[in-house]
Assembly symmetry: C2
Homo-oligomer: 320 residues x 2
């Protein structure tokens, strides 16, 4: 273990991973603020990623920590149908910070940043008892020049998902129980929890289809997030044929005597996209995004049904 | 003490303090990301504000916490010569969060947000052991359409400050020693530490004067920050006649047998502006900002002198 000699030493480590020069960045890190060349319509979002709240060191490698802190923020931009264009990073580090640990955190993060060509333009660095990362990210709209928002669906719209539901929740359960050994039996679930895939390309495609009426990313579980997607006065009828779920979700549910669709509905941290489209637009979505799955229909009355039966919409709540 | 029933309950509290509608905010809080109408050239900065690192509950009222978390970010926009146009807020709250506490935090923050007409457009909310606030703020340039940066001064430029140097450091010292009782004897110093004034109007005036060549805000103390302001290969000769310092700085230094100019130079969290101007521009600065004080001159050789003697530039370092 190597300690940092100084804050400048830590900042030099960041510079080794994240280049400063980038199209659209007029002044990068090192000033009081960065100066960016913004698209006139910009989306912006922020998410904290804290040790023992969002991740455990026991089974998150440092690279996974860096990856996921950025991935969950990219997922919000994906849910807007946007293209990420820059981010800032606040780092909380214990006093006896281990340089190798942070080196790997940053390496895990920069790999993802490079994939999406998104520059780090600023940040802050402070001592704290546990590790924490605060990311604020922004993005521009794609070719359609529109963002996808919530609360804009209409009754009769098809409700669909892109990405697996419940799989990350299974990953969390098996990681908490067996640590990284769980990866042998549950590789997809463990990967879904440690390394969720930000669906940027998919979000841009959806924003490009005019009849796609609303979108969000599922972070607190479908049951809790769905009411946030739909406009007031609307509900949804959901149907999850067992074939629509990932085999690891089905297998884990079977092993615990739970209906698999409940795992999918009450899961969390899926970072799947949940969206709605007019029936006409849905046929276009299916062609352009074959992995999209219809999971229900928006109704004109409040409340939700799951495979025909009513269900309670309470999911994960940080303050419940 | 009242606990929060749910995350929605916490979010409703935020809505009570911070209105959603604002010019330039196309979609506010409540979606995956906000959508903002950006000036094409935007400055953006982030700062964490953590319990027991940046503030102690013993002498920071909840309203002071909310105020200062936003103020230190506004100060960075001021140092760019910018006008703040929006911010996002990450909140870390202990599990048994006290609703009245957060109500006052938000009230302290919104008072300042309203003064500078800057909307809160998004955020994140998580559990944590201690209270923490993560602010990311952005801004537009003023009438001159330029931002003030660092590293752009020239030898011969006048170095000047706007705001008191060392006063906040005295405030920290007396608050740590005597708590809020210190306010009776050291009212200005205590106020400088608890409620630093973001110098937005002053920064906009400086950006509007073409010969002002560089600017920053002093957060880690002049000794540590000054090398970050000046271009490579430059240094500075500083002069602090005792009359240039606040009487509470002079009195506190005298009581501790320290030269007052050392308190001013090695202080921290001043959130004063430190800037440079050509000699011709300096005469304009003096007219338009009579409170600006010349404190030195930029030299063509590396290193610093203080009232004629060399000094070591080490200040506060989170990792030193």
């Amino acid at each position: 273990m190597t300690r940092f000699h100084s804050e400048d030493d830590f900042l030099a480590l960041i510079d080794r991973h994240f280049p400063r020069a980038h199209d659209g960045v007029l002044v990068s890190r090192g000033d009081d603020a960065a100066i960016i060349d913004c698209h006139c319509k910009t989306c912006v979002t922020t998410d904290l990623f804290l040790e023992d709240v969002h991740f455990r060191r026991a089974y998150f490698s440092p690279a996974d920590v860096g990856y996921k802190a950025l991935a969950v923020n990219l997922s919000d931009v994906a849910a807007m149908g946007g293209r990420p264009t820059g981010f800032v990073l606040g780092l909380i580090s214990p006093e006896n910070a281990d340089r190798e640990y942070w080196d790997e955190v940053l390496a895990g993060m920069v790999t993802l940043a490079e994939r999406f060509d998104v520059p780090l333009v600023g940040g802050d660095l402070v001592r704290g008892d546990k590790i924490g990362l605060s990311v604020t990210i922004w993005g521009a709209p794609g070719a359609s020049d529109r963002f996808l928002t919530r609360m804009t669906a209409a009754p009769g719209d098809v409700l669909f998902s892109v990405g697996e539901l419940g799989l990350a929740r299974v990953g969390l359960a098996v990681l908490e129980k067996r640590g990284l050994d769980a990866g042998g039996q549950w590789p997809a679930a463990v990967a879904a929890h440690l390394r969720p895939e930000p669906l940027i390309a998919e979000g841009l495609i959806l924003a490009d289809i005019p009849g796609v009426s609303a979108a969000m990313d599922v972070s607190d579980g479908l049951a809790r997030d769905l009411p946030r997607l739909l406009p007031a006065g609307c509900g949804a009828d959901l149907f999850f044929p067992p074939t629509s779920l990932h085999p690891e979700v089905t297998a884990h549910a079977a092993g615990n005597g739970r209906p698999p669709e409940k795992v999918a509905v009450f899961g969390g941290e899926d970072y799947a996209l949940l969206a709605t489209a007019s029936p006409a637009a849905w046929s276009i979505v299916r062609k352009r995004l074959p992995q999209a799955k219809a999971i229900g229909v928006v109704t004109q009355k409040v409340g939700f049904t799951l495979n025909g039966a009513p269900f309670d919409e309470r999911g994960f709540d940080h303050f419940g």
